[in-house]
């Protein structure tokens, strides 16, 4: 059963914190039951981000692999490693995220691709979507965006 995140308008947030107790830990991590073991590749040059993204995926039972540069990402895909989900940051060492996305799609990968990035303009968003990214998410990656995607991949 999924719990929804509490709504976060200003006043309710203040009340939450004023009462001296933050929301119970469990409720913030939307709970879902996964039927299948999914796999994901996380591509991000920033350690803090990919550690966090991998942990978030792990907490949903997703097996993950993390790489911090484009070359390793493309090499992995080219060597027939298969993933249900690929999460890519826009700015990466070696090649930029857009170029990596293009190369991965050229290899013929058809899994779900998420672009998770710090900030971007509309034109960049459109460029990524045109190259084959399925969803564009602004950092930080959170359960609200991730859970519907995981459920879809899980066939729920």
């Amino acid at each position: 059963m999924a719990h929804t995140l509490p709504s976060s308008d200003q006043s309710s947030d203040q009340d939450k914190w004023d009462s001296g107790g933050l929301e119970c830990k469990g409720q913030l991590l939307i709970k879902i039951v996964m039927r299948n073991r999914l796999t994901a590749l996380v591509v991000d040059g920033d350690t803090t981000c990919w550690v966090l993204e991998q942990e978030l995926l792990h907490s949903y039972g997703v097996q993950t692999l993390g790489v911090d540069n484009s070359r390793d990402a493309v090499d992995l895909i080219a060597s027939d490693a298969e993933f249900n989900l690929i999460i890519i940051e826009k700015i990466l060492p070696v090649l930029n995220g857009l170029e990596v996305t293009r190369q991965i799609c050229e290899i013929g990968v058809r899994c779900k691709m998420l672009e998770v990035t710090a900030c971007s303009g509309e034109s960049e968003r459109q460029a990524f979507l045109a190259f084959g990214v399925d969803v564009f998410i602004e950092k930080p990656l959170d359960p609200e965006h991730l859970v519907p995607i995981l459920r879809e991949l899980d066939g729920q």
Partner: protein, 149 residues
């Protein structure tokens, strides 16, 4: 100071960090990922953030000292800093990064220099505050108590 007082102090301290805009709900998200299997997750991720940020801030300082400033590279670095600060909920640092990126795009050296100083300042503050918070948590654990949620 007894255990209950320590726990109260921690809750008040943490609440103040949110109220004053140093942290946002992403930090709470981070805490929700910590459990018995991963008891030090928050400290570990925050430590990574400190390492990454210090490296990036040094590189940005050096970049602004060059004769020819590589704004594109600086923009990529600020982008990274924005990403990692947003990932741990370091709200003020994240907000400053947005301003910083605008100056990079405009190739405004003065603006970039000023912004870098501000980012370094806010980073210093959040680092000190988080370290104090972790110390308080450790004191509570050492006294045999548990960290209040």
């Amino acid at each position: 100071m007894d255990l209950v007082q320590l726990q109260r102090q921690l809750v008040d301290y943490r609440t103040s960090l949110y109220h004053e805009g140093f942290l946002d709900e992403q930090f709470t998200q981070l805490q929700s990922l910590q459990d018995e299997n991963n008891p030090d997750f928050v400290v570990e991720v925050v430590s990574l953030f400190f390492e990454d940020s210090e490296r990036l801030l040094n590189e940005l300082s050096k970049a602004l000292e060059q004769q020819v400033i590589d704004f594109k590279r600086m923009d990529a670095q600020v982008h990274q800093l924005k990403g990692s600060s947003s990932s741990i909920g370091a709200h003020r640092v994240q907000k400053l990064c947005i301003v910083f990126r605008n100056y990079c795009e405009a190739q405004n050296v003065e603006g970039c220099l000023k912004c870098l100083q501000q980012v370094k300042h806010e980073y210093g503050i959040i680092k000190t505050k988080l370290e104090s918070m972790f110390q308080l948590e450790q004191q509570i654990l050492n006294a045999g108590g548990s960290i209040p949620v």
